[in-house]
């Protein structure tokens, strides 16, 4: 891939981020709601200051947040602050900044969502490929079937089932939380194992809920690829079954799946938000959920923008890496 192409893609990424942030900026401005007026209106109702004072307070806060400036100036300030990665402060957990909140939450989300998406991708594609491979033993081919059944069940519902049976009834794994109550996060192996124990159920729910999709699409691809002339010619060459499976069949069938991987990461965020909430994990999803509950709008916009940027970046990354696995894309 040429340097030109890479620059083109990166420019495209900037445009996507700019568009996303512009939409995030204008949507709240379209509504006539003023979060500051709302917040202080609530405070005023509990008593304490006169309506005149209220106006002065609102005025000064509007000034502080720059809401008294003309729209274009606000917009310019906003874009400028995004370029500096400054997403503002949390109204609810003032003076914590949105970036700080995201930073604290990100390891939990990355740890759970990215790892489960990758695991699900690997398990699903290998099972799907084997399921379509006529020379694989029958028992191996049938492993994939139960996963296809699970596909119809949303991960959230699976999570509830797992919670009930494994954690509540069997008490085999903790009911929720990121780590045991009373433990102070540290770098010890014991702490990591504790975290892993807590991540197991949400991870299982996410994996079981998504593997079926990979199995189905891979099996479909596999059926097409195994009839390709190059797979037959590979057999005529006297290659071993495993070599044909890996180099001729799997590698070609995987190509469209890689594109799907980037999309799956995006979908995972959606399921992840609810799953994190369900298990009480302090990830991005929980931050977003709490912010929506508290009407902490700067945090909401910050998180939404962050997710948009993260997914857009991943897409570009996959696109840039794609020529490495498919030489036909290279120019």
């Amino acid at each position: 891939m040429s340097i030109r192409k890479i620059i083109e893609r990166l420019l495209f990424l900037v445009v996507v981020i700019w568009t996303a942030s512009t939409i995030t900026f204008f949507i709240p401005r379209i509504s006539s709601r003023n979060p500051i007026r709302e917040r202080f209106g609530q405070l005023a109702r509990t008593g304490g200051f006169s309506p005149d004072d209220l106006e002065i307070i609102i005025e000064s806060y509007n000034q502080k947040f720059g809401l008294d400036k003309p729209l274009w100036e606000q917009y310019a300030d906003y874009i400028g602050s995004i370029a500096r990665l400054d997403l503002g402060v949390s109204l609810y957990q003032y003076p914590k900044t949105v970036s700080e909140l995201i930073q604290e939450a990100i390891p939990w989300t990355l740890g759970l969502l990215v790892v489960t998406t990758i695991l699900s991708f690997i398990i699903g594609n290998v099972l799907g490929a084997v399921a379509a491979w006529p020379r694989a033993p029958r028992w191996l081919r049938s492993i994939a079937t139960p996963f296809i059944l699970f596909m119809g069940v949303p991960p959230v519902l699976l999570a509830v089932f797992l919670l009930f049976f494994v954690a509540f009834r069997l008490k085999a794994l903790p009911l929720g939380g990121a780590y045991s109550i009373g433990v102070v996060p540290n770098q010890s192996l014991k702490f990591y194992l504790d975290v892993l124990r807590h991540q197991l159920l949400p991870a299982l729910a996410l994996i079981f809920g998504t593997v079926g999709g990979w199995v189905l699409s891979m099996r479909g691809m596999g059926v097409t690829i195994q009839g390709e002339d190059y797979v037959l010619f590979a057999e005529h060459k006297g290659l071993s079954g495993f070599t044909i499976f890996r180099d001729y069949y799997l590698r070609n069938a995987l190509l469209p799946q890689v594109t799907g991987f980037a999309l799956a990461l995006g979908n995972m965020v959606t399921s992840g938000i609810v799953i994190e909430q369900l298990f009480g994990l302090p990830g991005i999803g929980t931050v977003l959920y709490n912010a929506i509950k508290a009407n902490d709008y700067l945090v909401i916009y910050g998180v939404v923008l962050f997710i948009t940027i993260a997914i857009a970046t991943l897409m570009v990354l996959v696109e840039l890496l794609y020529p490495l696995i498919d030489p036909r894309i290279r120019e």
């Binding site: 190059y230 037959l232 010619f233 590979a234 006297g238 001729y248």
Partner: protein
Amino acid sequence: MEPVLKIENLQVSYYTDAGRARALDGASLALNAGEKLGLVGESGSGKSTMALAMMRMIKPPGRIEGGRVIVGDTDLTTLTEDEMLKTRLEKITYIPQGAMNSLNPVMRIGAQMVDAIKAHDKSLSKAEMSEMSMDSLESVDLDRSVFKMYAHELSGGMKQRVCIAIGILLKPQVIIADEPTSALDVVTQRQVMETIDRVQETLGAAIILIGHDMGLMAQFVDKVAVLYTGRLMEVCTVREMFTNPQHPYAQALIRSLPSFDNKGVFHGIPGLAPALLRLPSGCTFHPRCQHATEICTTTLPRLEQMENGRLVACHLYSEQV
């Protein structure tokens, strides 16, 4: 001279829901080193089935039900699956029909040659295998640089040459070329055929060329075998086939070719080839045959040698024997 390839009474059937289709019934052939045989017949006559059976690559619902394929002094039908893997490419090789898609699009040509060598001989070093591959590419008139290229960077003719280069990597004794030029234009066709010709001469291998292009056969092969409904009808030299075919089907086949003598007149073969599931009794050609007699409807004629050494499966001649 001991023939390098002997096929004896080869039988292949496909088991379908509608019954058993005998795609190849008692095919026997012998081929000496350096000999070129053309295997002709209409679509569905069992040409590719015969090629696949020789490679032992018939897949379910198909089955090889009998007969022997002997290359050199090895009977392929008695080998284990693992031994057969080694035999492919090493002793008997297949050059595919769809060369356009016969190369893996995501692997370099070189890698697809090296993995083939590796599967047969693990003792060679990487450099030796690369050298072998590039020599093979050179022998089919390709540049050594093709080794580092991908299939999509090659033209149709080049891809077909690469397939030939892969096929002859391990210097096999028998080469089966399944319509190797069907996807190419006539100029490239000729070049590719000349390449196959030269490569075969250097190796001294026997070659079976499958196809229905009689013109190509006339130029290229020494012997012709005519297949009809999975049965060999006639085997003779190419000269005999074009000047004096014996079997009524072969006669009709040759008559159907356009020639300068009878310009504008088209002789088709009346009727259609029967479905393999509902073959006529006796000789499978008898419903379309002008010379059919009583015995043709009841008894299947065997492929028999005539006085002049030709092999024909027809009652017209077996009665004389």
